[in-house]
């Protein structure tokens, strides 16, 4: 039986994010678990999962751990792994842990696998499934080295749900007085301009076709932007863009101003997980299509019935003018 540590960081409001509860569910499915928490104040989060049946609750707590920062997070992660005597460490693949935990693995002489889609027992040992070459192929692997830190991608398993309670938390002391980094804060677009919504039920993918000449021989980038933003607002969808469209934005051509590299999906962008996806004016074959590899139900609007982005990749392809359909969609959703 492996000694399993579930490692999570606590949000500023004292809670655990959904991705952490998903990682907890995966950890509990493997065996008995020790919980390790890092944050400014951890008791609320520990109480939130008090009913999960964990053997112990360990925590590194304090103002220095309220925000993500490599030096403090790596020190906290290392201390918790050592305190738990962990052989297998399961953590959510958040930006904070993705930054810090590979360094922890190095300090402990262990190994790390990030972006894992699942971890399950195979031939009585834990086996991780993850993608290689930017979601082009899927591998299943095991490791003999311990500790083995596994970061699980959000949206792959059902999050743990259970009763809250009062957890008995053992605090672990960590000295972080030598860090030279100060977290100043977060920079985000205004709420009404935010187009990336990881928890949205729908991903709307816009392709370069939006900025091409339309039937009247003119480019209608401004109308395209208005239609897309109107739809995102009405449908509460998240926005993804193809590389060609995002690159146009950086080159100062007739473009969609709402589209930045942060929106880019695909080979050199993100591969978000959403239950549904609607793509518009997207073109390209297999390498480009990985942008919606992890989208559940997919529909596409495209003028080309044979486009590789949609055919064989989407459940439904509407062969139509995206401008016309989006105008109607926004009218219906208003």
């Amino acid at each position: 039986m492996e000694r399993i540590l579930f490692l999570a960081h606590v949000e500023p409001d004292g809670s655990l994010v959904k991705a952490a509860l998903e990682a907890l569910a995966s950890a509990l499915a493997l065996g008995e678990v020790t919980v390790g928490l890092v944050g400014g104040s951890v008791q609320g989060a520990a109480d939130q999962i008090a009913g999960c049946g964990a053997m112990r609750f360990l925590a590194v707590e304090g103002e220095a751990f309220a925000q993500g920062r490599y030096a403090t997070d790596a020190a906290a992660g290392e201390a918790l792994c050592r305190a738990a005597g962990a052989e297998l460490v399961i953590a959510p693949s958040t930006s904070r842990w993705a930054r810090a935990l590979p360094g922890v693995a190095c300090r402990l002489g262990g190994r790390v696998d990030t972006h894992a889609a699942s971890i399950a027992t195979m031939n009585e040992v834990p086996a991780v499934t993850r993608w290689f070459y930017r979601q082009r192929m899927e591998g299943v692997l095991t490791r003999s080295q311990r500790p083995w830190i596994v970061l699980l991608e959000p949206g792959c398993v059902t999050a743990w749900t259970g009763t809250s309670g009062v957890a008995n938390v053992e605090r672990v002391a960590v000295d972080v007085s030598t860090t030279r980094t100060t977290v100043i804060g977060m920079q985000a677009p205004p709420a009404d301009e935010q187009t990336i919504r990881p928890d949205a039920k729908l991903l709307f993918v816009a392709g370069a076709g939006w900025t091409k000449k339309q039937a009247d021989g003119a480019v209608h980038a401004q109308e395209a932007e208005k239609l897309i933003l109107g739809f995102l607002h009405a449908a509460k969808a998240s926005l993804g863009g193809s590389k060609s469209l995002v690159d146009l934005s950086g080159e100062g051509e007739a473009v969609l101003k709402c589209m930045t590299h942060l929106n880019q999906v695909g080979q050199t962008g993100s591969t978000p997980r959403h239950p549904k996806g609607l793509s518009t004016c997207c073109h390209g074959e297999e390498p480009h299509v990985v942008g919606w590899r992890f989208i559940g139900e997919r529909r596409a609007i495209n003028l080309d019935a044979n486009c590789g982005w949609a055919r064989g990749k989407a459940d439904v392809l509407y062969v139509s003018d995206a401008f016309a359909v989006m105008r109607e969609l926004n009218r219906l959703l208003a």
């Binding site: 993500g68 590979p102 070459y133 899927e138 449908a235 050199t268 459940d315 109607e328």
Partner: protein, 268 residues
């Protein structure tokens, strides 16, 4: 204030190529891997361009590109990359496979960095892509940093500004399209770059000629660096086989399509 910027970056198959996994005696690999056209890993490329831009702004700075890959493929890719920005190549002859372990890769790269003559590690900025387009783990840079004793690290970096007192202000990507803003008092630091803010530089043959004088000797000096990946066992590597039966809808009025999509969005 001059910086000593070491960029770690290797080569990956051209993203437009069809990739197929095969299993060999040493584990999984890509079919015809040595025949596939290669490019500099895209995010490592952004790191290199940002490094050159930073070095150009701070007189006396220098950029090294530390690269682990098959020597012949590295040479091909460097013919193009060397025309972009000034750097000195430090090459290691070994696999650039996505199936190699980041732990072993980090050990080789850290050793190569330790061996750079004249490198002031107290002034060092260790750059690289925050993830590769091969393994895509986002774990190698942190391990190199740990091996070199650098505990100020940043990942998903889109912007670096040097303040008047020499401190570094850094923007890192976090969830939800936001950036975390941090201030690092001074080097050394590790920065894993995302896209950054700079476009790819145009080819400059003059830069290429200067670089190539050092690139070719560096490739000739490249030490063999086989990666053993002991303890790592792949049970399978497969292409996704799922092909969807696409319902093609033609000649449906836009209004009707919109109604169908609205109903679909509303379904649980």
């Amino acid at each position: 204030m001059p910086f000593q910027i070491v960029v770690c970056g290797s080569i990956v198959p051209d993203p437009l190529q069809t990739l197929e996994p095969v299993t060999g005696p040493a584990g999984p690999a890509l079919k015809n891997e040595m025949m596939l056209p290669a490019v500099l890993d895209p995010w490592a490329g952004h790191a290199l361009f940002e490094a050159a831009h930073l070095a150009a702004q701070h007189a006396g700075s220098k950029v090294w590109l530390v690269s682990l890959g098959p020597k012949a493929k590295l040479q091909q890719v460097m013919m193009t990359v060397a025309q972009k920005v000034p750097f000195e190549l430090v090459a290691m002859d070994g696999p650039a496979s996505g199936f190699a372990d980041s732990f072993d890769t980090a050990a080789v790269l850290a050793e190569a960095i330790r061996g750079i003559a004249g490198l002031d590690r107290g002034r060092m900025l260790l750059f690289g892509g925050w993830e590769s387009a091969s393994r895509g783990a986002g774990s190698t840079l942190q391990m190199i940093g740990e091996r070199l004793g650098i505990t100020e690290q940043f990942q998903g970096v889109d912007e670096l500004r040097v303040e008047a007192d020499g401190a570094l202000q850094i923007l890192e990507r976090v969830e939800g399209g936001r950036h975390q803003v941090s201030r690092c008092a001074a080097p050394p630091a590790v920065l894993g770059w995302a896209t950054g803010r700079l476009p790819e530089p145009r080819n400059n043959p003059q830069v290429g000629m200067v670089n190539m004088r050092l690139v070719m000797p560096a490739l000739q000096r490249a030490k063999a660096a086989p990666l053993k990946s002991v303890g790592l066992c792949f049970h399978s590597v497969t292409l996704p086989k799922q092909r969807r039966e696409t319902r093609i809808v033609k000649d449906m009025p836009a209004g009707e399509i919109a109604r169908e999509i609205v109903a679909w969005i509303g379904e649980e």
